[in-house]
């Protein structure tokens, strides 16, 4: 397993938001966390990204307890959690170049940034500030900053939000490409359709617990 969570429970101010959750992904696998608001998907993703340590249980990345401050984790785990945030004075292209160059690929930064802008339909707006973008374009750029960099594991919290249907389809295609490259993906979603299109494993969550999990074709069979 590239990433595994074992008996993870978590509390915020004495309120239990996750209870005895276990999951894992191998390289090239995609796991979708499906559930309503407050089901605990975002909290689980934060724990899987090492941004918080669980109250009980552990999360392992390549058999080491995950911690966001660990250099190996920062180099290999790309997490898109929370609202899109950008520097107010950097253009969309410069955001992508910054990420690529920081990962030691500065000589290809512009080329990689242009490719990412093109694949998310932002080629025409590469030299503009993200503050002028629509919500969907901001989300696309936010996703692009995680996809343009090298990574073994990709974690995304509701990546489809604000995206139009065409962009969602493109996102599912992109996920499948990444899986073929050996990247493991975990994402949360309200949309069973996206889970069905991209994930090979699904975990249904409710009130901080896993109520069903398994291969997508079985778990989401007949669910619309």
């Amino acid at each position: 397993m590239l990433l595994r969570a074992e008996w993870v429970s978590h509390q915020y101010g004495g309120v239990e938001v996750l209870r005895d959750v276990g999951c894992g992904v191998r390289p090239g696998e995609c796991l979708a966390l499906v559930g309503a608001n407050g089901a605990g998907k975002s909290t689980l993703l934060r724990l899987l990204a090492g941004r918080e340590q669980p109250s009980q249980g552990s999360v392992y990345f390549q058999d080491n307890v995950i911690n966001e401050d660990d250099r190996f984790v920062r180099r290999n785990v790309a997490a898109v959690l929370g609202d899109p945030i950008f520097y107010p004075d950097l253009t969309a292209r410069e955001h992508l170049e910054l990420v690529v160059a920081a990962h030691g690929q500065g000589s290809h930064a512009t080329e990689r940034a242009n490719q990412a802008l093109h694949s998310f339909g932002l080629s025409e707006r590469g030299d503009e500030l993200p503050a002028k973008f629509s919500a969907g374009q901001k989300q696309a750029l936010f996703l692009a900053t995680a996809l343009v960099r090298p990574r073994l594991l990709l974690l995304m919290d509701e990546p489809e939000q604000h995206l139009d249907p065409e962009a969602r389809t493109h996102l599912a295609d992109r996920f499948r490409e990444l899986m073929r490259e050996g990247v493991a993906i975990v994402f949360s979603t309200h949309q069973p359709d996206l889970a069905r299109a991209a994930a090979d494993q699904v975990m249904i969550m409710e009130d901080g617990r896993v109520v069903n999990s398994g291969p997508t074709a079985i778990v989401l069979h007949g669910d619309s």
Partner: protein, 550 residues
């Protein structure tokens, strides 16, 4: 009286009655004044005493007093222009007349007479400006008294009159800007055209203070516009004659009447939309300030003004990952060159103040107050260059896709600002040092050595968590309040603690015969050690900030 007038009068008097009697308001104001006075008495008096004693040295009194009075009309004219520009620019987003959130929500949609609703507020603001200005003028009179051997009652009362008149005219003009979209548009487009005027007045003041007699340009500068009429209240151009004082007094009175009348006439034209957005913005800014988040408040204001002046200069991304953070900082500076200008301004001001301190001292030992103010200017110069660090600290998640730890990024953010500040400081030091007859290279090296300390101290202040305002009032002795002040001012305090004694030591060592190179070497050693400690603090505080934000 129409039906609407009666309705407005009844509603407003009902609201006044509901909102408590005047006595309650006065009691509240008195309580705030009492608490402020208490804190000043407990914590502020040693500072006040120190500053006044520093100013009251006979040497300074003679020199500064001689220079002050002749240059006063021009200097005060410059102050008037700056205050007027500030008030008018403030009126573009905020303005003197701002309704509270509940008033906006409940009163604007009713058929109340807008003029009757807004007149009392405009009048209160103008009267408040008169009182505040008079107090500021009185404070100015105290300072004049400290450096001038025989200030005279006329000068003291003139200073109070200048402050009051400046306040009234500035706030009344700002009310006109707020209420008239045409005037507001003109101010938004052309306000910077008034800047050269203030620069010219400042330059004439400096030249006049150096001892040159009055020339025709000075007279034109003080008579051609209201800035000079007001500034002649405490110090008429022709000191022997009462004519200029009387004329200037009449002109100021006439101008005051005209501008206040205009303000009260136009204020009724304020639109509901404008009042609503101003009230909303004020609510957000006050909320930010209440929790000690001055930066968010500043960003709100900047956004309301239409953003900072920026460029679209492009710098290619570096190939080496070790240069990426420096590239990011460099982009921030070239996109907002105003930060470099501010930094240069403060570095020059700091060097100038220390230079004046040296020149004013008989032993060439500047007063600690002069060094302290100079160091604080240097600190402000450093803070202007650290915007990217602040953005990161606001939301550490913005660095989530970078492979470096947040603390490592924080450390790298000091590199470019340190080099820029050292460069600006070297130029400012060399120019000012040369002007005051000191060694140019020694004057340039001092700021270069101080730059890491100043940037380090400013960075320590940048990487802090939310202000612990809950500590205010936890104990009756004010320790909680003092802790919060320390929390907020840790950067300036660090700069002062390190650089004031170290800088003073340079001058006393040189005076005692130590070669300047050796004195500067000791200074640089202290600076390097202090910068190392500050870098450690930046690392630990940024790590804590990243953890707290998760």
């Amino acid at each position: 009286m129409t039906r609407d007038d009666r309705l407005t009068r009844d509603v407003l008097s009902w609201l006044r009655a509901r909102r408590g009697s005047r006595r309650v308001v006065v009691r509240r104001v008195a309580w705030v004044a009492y608490v402020a006075a208490l804190f000043t008495a407990i914590y502020g008096w040693p500072v006040v005493l120190w500053v006044v004693r520093s100013l009251e040295t006979e040497h300074l009194r003679g020199k500064a007093g001689d220079a002050l009075i002749p240059s006063l009309p021009l200097g005060l004219a410059c102050v008037f222009v700056v205050v007027l520009i500030g008030a008018c620019r403030n009126a573009l987003w905020h303005g003197p007349v701002v309704l509270s959130g509940p008033d906006v929500a409940w009163l604007l949609s009713t058929p109340l007479d807008r003029a009757r609703l807004l007149w009392p507020r405009a009048a209160t603001m103008i009267a408040g400006a008169a009182v505040t200005g008079a107090l500021a003028g009185a404070l100015g009179a105290v300072l004049v008294n400290a450096v001038h051997p025989h200030p005279g009652a006329r000068l003291v009362f003139g200073m109070i009159g200048f402050g009051a008149a400046t306040g009234v005219i500035a706030i009344a003009a700002a009310t006109v800007v707020e209420a008239s979209s045409t005037v507001a548009r003109a101010v938004r487009r052309y306000w910077f055209a008034a800047l050269p005027l203030s620069v010219v007045l400042a330059a004439l003041t400096a030249v006049r203070a150096s001892g040159r007699p009055w020339i025709w340009a000075d007279r034109v500068a003080v008579w051609v516009g209201p800035w000079g009429w007001v500034s002649q209240l405490p110090a008429p151009v022709d000191r022997g004659s009462d004519a200029s004082a009387v004329v200037s007094l009449l002109l100021v009175g006439l101008l005051g009447v005209v501008i206040v009348t205009l303000a009260l006439r136009t204020v009724a034209g304020l639109t509901a939309d404008s009042l609503r957005s101003r009230a909303r913005l004020e609510g957000r800014v006050v909320g930010d300030l209440y929790v000690g988040d001055a930066r968010s408040a500043r960003l709100e204001i900047q956004q309301a003004r239409g953003g900072a002046i920026g460029t679209r200069l492009h710098i290619g991304v570096p190939r080496s990952r070790y240069l990426v953070v420096a590239w990011r900082d460099l982009i921030a500076l070239v996109r907002a060159p105003g930060r470099i200008v501010w930094s240069a301004f403060f570095m020059t001001a700091g060097a100038l103040i220390i230079g004046i301190g040296v020149a004013a001292s008989a032993t060439h030992d500047p007063a600690p107050a002069a060094i302290a103010i100079g160091v604080l200017c240097g600190y402000w110069a450093a803070t202007a260059l650290l915007e990217v660090g602040r953005i990161d600290n606001d939301r550490p998640a913005i660095t989530a896709q970078l492979p470096m730890r947040f603390s490592a990024i924080a450390r790298r953010h000091v590199v470019v600002p340190t080099f820029v500040l050292a460069g600006l400081g070297a130029v400012a030091g060399a120019v000012v040092g040369g002007r005051f007859g000191a060694s140019v290279w020694a004057s340039a090296i001092g700021p270069i050595a101080a730059a890491p300390v100043l940037v380090g101290a400013a960075s320590v202040n940048v990487y802090r968590r939310a202000t612990p305002v809950e500590w205010v009032g936890v104990d009756p002795y004010g320790f909680g309040f003092a802790f919060v002040v320390l929390w907020l001012l840790i950067g300036p305090i660090l700069s002062l603690v390190v650089l004031v004694p170290a800088t003073a030591q340079i001058f006393s060592a040189v005076r005692d015969g130590t070669p300047p190179a050796a004195a500067l070497g000791d200074f640089a050693t202290v600076c390097v050690a202090a910068a190392g400690v500050e870098l450690f603090l930046v690392t630990s505080r940024s790590s804590g900030r990243a953890r707290a934000n998760r």
